[in-house]
């Protein structure tokens, strides 16, 4: 462990799996030893992981940084098993080597004194590392999930956040409803001067609108199908409000809400 060799270029590394933990029926948390990446990576950036021995799957899979510890040289990834690539990751044992490109993309802009964070579903992953970077600012977080088991996140955030607010679609935990069931009142009451959000596009769109209404600057972190993750293929393109196109992988994945169309 701790041994990370580069694979011959400047942003391709071999990381060692230190720990694998199952968080709920289909979500796993992985700790990797990758000191070179841990030293560079910023909240909101992501990695491209090779998820197979040969060409099946062929393309890498993009995964966000859920946490990084420069001192220990470790990274944390939290991922849901949805297909063969993530199934492969979940099957890896301690000591396994993973071929990684990264850090990739642009991270969040750290600004404001009283940030609010709104995360939905697997979009919560990159926000945990963001909270660490925002410390010691007092951060509040609003986590939205379909049901209670999706919100194993709470205790991870609780250590670092001032307040953790929760909504679930089925009401099995916290307020019943989606993030919007709570957000307007949080924005009205709190003195937030910055909002960060990551989750499904419709959620982020509504969150951004609400933030605008309250004059709070807002950054969104987008997810698009990515073939390369490094700006080469244009498969991740999204429309910018100025009519141009942005690459989610290299221009983003984090954008100012007013820059892009969700």
């Amino acid at each position: 462990m701790g041994k990370v060799k580069t694979l011959g270029d400047k942003r391709r590394f071999s990381a060692t799996l230190v720990q694998q933990q199952q968080m709920n029926h289909d979500v796993y948390r992985m700790v990797l030893s990758a000191p070179e990446i841990a030293a560079m990576i910023k909240p909101g950036q992501f990695l491209q992981l090779k998820t197979g021995r040969l060409m099946d799957p062929l393309l890498r899979r993009p995964i966000s940084i859920a946490d990084a510890d420069d001192g220990e040289g470790t990274l944390q990834l939290v991922y849901r098993v949805v297909g063969e690539g993530t199934k492969y990751l979940a099957g890896l044992q301690q000591g396994a080597e993973i071929d990684i490109l990264g850090p990739l993309g642009n991270g969040f802009t750290l600004q404001g004194e009283r940030p609010l964070i709104v995360g939905g579903g697997m979009g919560i992953a990159p926000l945990l590392y963001l909270v660490r970077a925002l410390c010691p600012k007092p951060v509040d977080v609003l986590l939205a999930g379909r049901e209670a088991s999706e919100l194993f996140w709470i205790k991870l955030f609780a250590e670092r956040c001032q307040a953790v607010h929760v909504t679930t679609d089925d009401g099995s935990l916290g307020t019943k409803g989606n993030a919007l069931a709570l957000l307007p009142q949080l924005l009205a009451q709190g003195q937030y001067d910055m909002l960060y959000t990551c989750g499904p596009d419709p959620m982020m769109e509504a969150v951004a609108k609400e933030a605008a209404k309250h004059g709070v600057p807002c950054q969104v972190s987008l997810e698009r199908y990515m073939a390369c993750g490094i700006g080469a293929c244009l498969s991740c393109s999204c429309g910018a409000k100025d009519g141009s196109r942005k690459k989610v992988c290299t221009d983003g994945p984090v954008f100012w809400a007013e820059e892009v169309m969700l």
Binding site: L58, M226, A227, A232, C233, S237
Partner: protein, 318 residues
């Protein structure tokens, strides 16, 4: 191993390359995106993303999806337009010791000709004609699917520029040899093959095509056997150099194309998986020349071809 190896130099009808390994259009951005991953000076040539007269926003909806040993894409030729390329990108690319080949696409012969005129500037080594795009004058049927319309484009470009003209053939045709012969006769200095096969994927849960454009171009190792076959057939039929591509992921794959008759190769989808591949492959080709005691990569070009006279292949394939 990072110095230029003169045994890897190839000359394609005057296009002088330090390495026979180039990077295919649309899979390497404008090259600059890869500065963090490899030394651009070690790439034989950068074939830039398909460039059009006006900027294009490309297709909407999902633009790529993985398939078995391959991927489909329907980017829709998103690009900043030729003027921005000339003013902003080319000056940066010219700082590297790699050849710049501009892939161009138009909806009419005239658009191709105007692109060629604009790109007849220092720093552009050659023009690669992407003729897989719909020809608006012929009801949206791709230029590259019939010898006559393909020749028309080549002639229009040939008359508009003294740059080297590379025609990139589409594999979605009945007779690739006829396409090759017609486009060479019309003035191509070099042929590139192959572009993507047309394919699609359906999302069985949504019961809808996955790609926003419904159909897309299939690339990657899955198509390599088709690409090698076409290079092998065309190499026996024409006298111009061939740039081989289609599913090259390893040095062995590159050698397969060179033995089949390609004078140089281009990495496409492979750049997405291993962005340093073009540089590493040059090193590995040097090592292969050492191992096999080969004085120059040019000795290998077409080494698996039959004598020109013997007609090989073509029997029952099932």
């Amino acid at each position: 191993m990072s110095k230029v190896d003169s045994r890897l130099a190839v000359n394609l009808a005057g296009l002088q390359l330090n390495s026979p390994v180039m990077t295919a259009s649309g899979t390497f951005g404008f090259g600059l995106e890869f500065r963090d991953f490899l030394d651009l000076n070690r790439v034989g040539a950068v074939m830039v993303k398909g460039t059009t007269l006006a900027p294009r926003a490309g297709n909407s909806g999902q633009r790529a999806v993985e398939t078995p040993a391959g991927m489909l894409n329907c980017i829709g030729l998103e690009n900043p337009g030729v003027d921005k390329f000339l003013n902003e990108t080319l000056p940066q690319l010219r700082e590297y010791d790699t050849q710049v080949i501009v892939n161009i696409a138009g909806a009419t012969e005239d658009e191709y000709a105007r692109l060629a005129e604009k790109l007849t500037v220092p720093g552009v080594a050659a023009l690669e004609l992407n003729i897989s795009c719909p020809n608006v004058k012929q009801g949206g049927i791709a230029f590259g699917t019939c010898p006559e319309s393909a020749s028309g484009v080549v002639r229009a470009v040939r008359n508009a520029t003294d740059k080297l003209v590379i025609t990139k053939l589409s594999p979605n045709v009945t007779d690739i040899v006829a396409m090759a012969k017609a486009t060479v006769e019309a003035g191509s200095d070099i042929l590139s093959l192959i572009n993507t096969l047309i394919g699609m994927k359906i999302d069985i849960d949504r019961r809808r095509p996955v790609l926003g454009n419904v159909i897309g171009g299939l690339s990657g190792p899955a198509i390599r056997p088709v690409a090698v076959r076409m290079v092998y057939q065309v190499a026996q039929a024409v006298d111009v150099p061939i740039i081989g591509m289609g599913g090259i992921m390893t040095t062995e794959d590159a050698l397969e194309f060179i033995l089949a008759g390609a004078s140089a190769v281009a990495i496409g989808t492979g750049n997405f998986v291993e962005p340093e591949l073009a540089e590493r492959m040059a090193d590995e080709l040097s090592a292969y020349l050492d191992k096999t005691g080969t004085a120059s990569i040019t000795e290998l070009i077409g080494a698996a071809l039959p004598e020109r006279q013997t007609r090989e292949g073509g029997g029952c394939t099932c």
